[in-house]
């Protein structure tokens, strides 16, 4: 009964969020996993709460490593590499705190995958890049300040 109620509420939330954004053209079934509320959030904290039940509990960890240049000449293309030296890693989530939408993306790993990802992100201004790692149900965090010399018209 509880589960059905939750699924129902989730459905309402998902539909409401999508309508607010004007994205109702999307087939809900396909896009059900894309958490609109997290991508609408204007701060990392709010996005984390939307993504994880324990979103306020991330603790700093030197087991999470962000590899990136200290200075980015082009904010439109900032290479980042994230490694989590932790057991049972489920996902790595990346934020650029100075962007209008701080949540860049979440990478979820299958059981055979390494806790490692490399990608390129946009940064609107100099700010912290934050990596949140979910491992064995707990959240771990690392931040790195990156100076952007020309902004990336980012999102």
């Amino acid at each position: 009964m509880n589960i059905r109620r939750r699924a129902f509420l989730k459905g309402i939330l998902a539909t409401g969020g999508a309508m607010a954004l004007g994205t109702t053209l999307l087939p809900q079934s396909v896009m059900a996993e894309w958490p609109t509320s997290a991508f609408d959030a204007e701060t990392t904290e709010d996005a984390l709460k939307a993504l994880f039940e324990n979103g306020a509990s991330a603790e700093e960890s030197d087991k999470v490593i962000i590899k990136a240049e200290d200075k980015a000449e082009n904010g439109a293309v900032v290479p980042v590499e994230i490694t989590a030296n932790l057991p049972k890693v489920e996902s790595i989530t990346i934020f650029s705190e100075g962007n209008p939408i701080p949540l860049i993306g979440q990478f979820t790993f299958g059981e055979n995958a390494d806790a490692w990802v490399k990608t390129r992100i946009k940064m609107a201004e100099s700010s912290n890049v934050v990596a949140i790692v979910k491992a064995d149900g707990k959240l771990y965090k690392a931040s790195k300040a990156i100076e952007v010399t020309s902004g990336g018209c980012a999102g």
């Binding site: 790993f109 490399k118 946009k122």
Partner: protein
């Protein structure tokens, strides 16, 4: 949608027991926050929302993105359990409902 056909370039390379997948996708990744330089109007959002990689019908890595991933996205990740000659399937879907998919052979 025809405009995104053959948008994915992918390599999967086996080193020891680990396969490293590198994917490069041709996509504008418009966040919806960028202004057109000539008209000053906001360029409508057009970005990949989901990227997925499968091996033997199992999801190796799946990602959800905002328009904060750079234009022509690059994504690399690693997994165990593949053999040379295996296929990895990479697919994406964007906020306008466009999709593309591609198989890469593990080398």
């Amino acid at each position: 949608m025809a405009i995104h056909k053959k948008s994915i370039r992918a390599k999967a390379k086996l080193k020891g027991e680990i396969t490293e997948v590198k994917a490069l996708i041709k996509h504008p990744m418009e966040s919806g926050f960028r202004k057109d330089k000539e008209t000053g109007d906001l360029v409508p959002a057009h970005f990949i929302k989901e990227l997925k990689c499968e091996h033997n019908d199992k999801v190796v890595m799946s990602a959800i993105w905002s328009g904060g991933i750079s234009k022509n996205p690059y994504c690399a990740f690693r997994f165990k359990g593949a053999a040379k000659g295996d296929k990895v399937k990479i697919s994406w879907e964007d906020n306008l409902g466009h999709t593309d998919t591609r198989d890469a052979k593990v080398k």
